[in-house]
């Protein structure tokens, strides 16, 4: 399967209109149902080349759920914004965390981690509630 092509297993006659969020291959056992002894062989069946496709499907699942519905709300934007902040906070973690102060004063963290976590939780709960208001 090349870039921009349909998945090999997709057949319009069988599957109908193409859905970018759907996996058209033969489904493997869901990870939650894999027995402990079979985890090794299950992981062995994963391949790096399948990763872009999986990420693309996940992206489209998110689009279907939050962005593309006719009556969508602020949730997708909130999710993206919070995601951005977490990503850039993580990649700059070594640089932030401490403010510039004079040497005799104790170092005070710039970020209150507890407050950040609480606000993230509030945001995610709000986004969740907001989303479910639109679904019957």
């Amino acid at each position: 399967m090349g870039f921009g092509e349909y998945p090999v297993d997709y057949n319009p006659k069988v599957h109908g209109p193409f859905d970018p969020a759907r996996f058209y291959g033969k489904p493997d056992t869901p990870f939650g149902q894999v027995k402990l002894g079979e985890v090794g062989s299950w992981l062995g069946r994963r391949s790096v080349s399948g990763l872009p496709g999986a990420m693309s499907r996940a992206f489209w699942r998110w689009q279907h759920k939050y962005v593309l519905p006719k009556k969508t709300g602020f949730a997708p934007f909130g999710q993206l914004m919070v995601g951005c902040m977490i990503f850039f906070y993580a990649i700059n973690y070594g640089k932030t965390g401490k403010v510039l102060r004079s040497p005799q004063e104790p170092q005070v963290p710039l970020v209150n981690v507890e407050l950040l976590l609480v606000s993230l939780q509030v945001l995610s709960v709000e986004a969740h509630c907001y989303h479910h208001r639109w679904t019957p």
């Binding site: 962005v67 006719k70 902040m85 700059n92 640089k95 403010v99 510039l100 005070v108």
Partner: protein, 224 residues
């Protein structure tokens, strides 16, 4: 460790000092709503309304002769707007606060306009050097002034955007860093001030992207 105020503008991350902070330039792409179903979502509708509005605006400046080129300026506007507004989120890097970014947009744009004008409308370009009704004595001087103002255009475009972004971020950071040393009463005032400032900066972020797009449209309209 935040060693200086300007470290918020540092593109290098703390992951092997790689400059992956520049990734924020393209995060805006995720915010653009797709047209997937026949009935658009309300965000897609809002988005296309904004695009239509900008198209009408830019088409009026460019004139009917140049059909279709508004897409360049609309894209420019949305690109800069996403960069500016997303840069206001905490921890998110603002690539439009860097001359490396703004000059990369402004310089090739200006250069192509100027070259296009010189090659295709030489006389028109030279006539632009002397505005109508200039007294004969002032003409040589006006040519100098017009040439200079033409040459500094990419610089002014780039510096205007970058300086506006830097100023806003610096102000927010400066005030924000005062927080730990203030009393509770003063902190509440500080928070109010920060909210007001953030509102102002959100407006500036959108206005500056509009200014950039409109000025480049004006420069484009001058060369034909």
């Amino acid at each position: 460790m935040m060693t200086s105020l300007f470290s918020i503008f540092e593109p290098s991350s703390s992951i092997f000092s790689l400059s992956i902070n520049w990734l924020s330039t393209f995060v805006g792409l995720l915010f653009i709503p797709y047209l997937y179903w026949a009935a658009p979502s309300r965000w897609a509708l809002v988005w296309s309304k904004i695009m239509q509005l900008l198209h009408n605006e830019f088409q009026a400046i460019l004139g009917q002769a140049t059909k279709g080129s508004t897409i360049l300026f609309i894209s420019l506007f949305s690109f800069i707007m996403f960069n500016n507004t997303l840069g206001l989120l905490p921890y998110v890097f603002t690539s439009s606060s860097h001359l490396a970014m703004t000059l990369t947009l402004a310089l090739p744009l200006w250069l192509t306009f100027i070259l296009f004008g010189w090659i295709n409308h030489t006389q028109h370009m030279l006539a632009h050097m002397v505005p109508q009704g200039t007294p004969g004595l002032l003409m040589p001087f006006m040519v100098l002034v017009e040439t200079l103002s033409n040459i500094i255009r990419p610089g002014t475009l780039a510096v205007r955007l970058a300086a506006n972004m830097i100023a806003g971020h610096l102000l927010l950071t400066l005030l924000g860093n005062m927080g730990p040393s203030l009393s509770l009463t003063l902190v509440s005032f500080l928070m109010l001030a920060q909210i007001l400032l953030l509102m102002l900066e959100s407006a500036v972020a959108m206005i500056q992207s509009y200014v950039f797009a409109v000025l480049s449209t004006l420069y484009a309209s001058e060369v034909n």
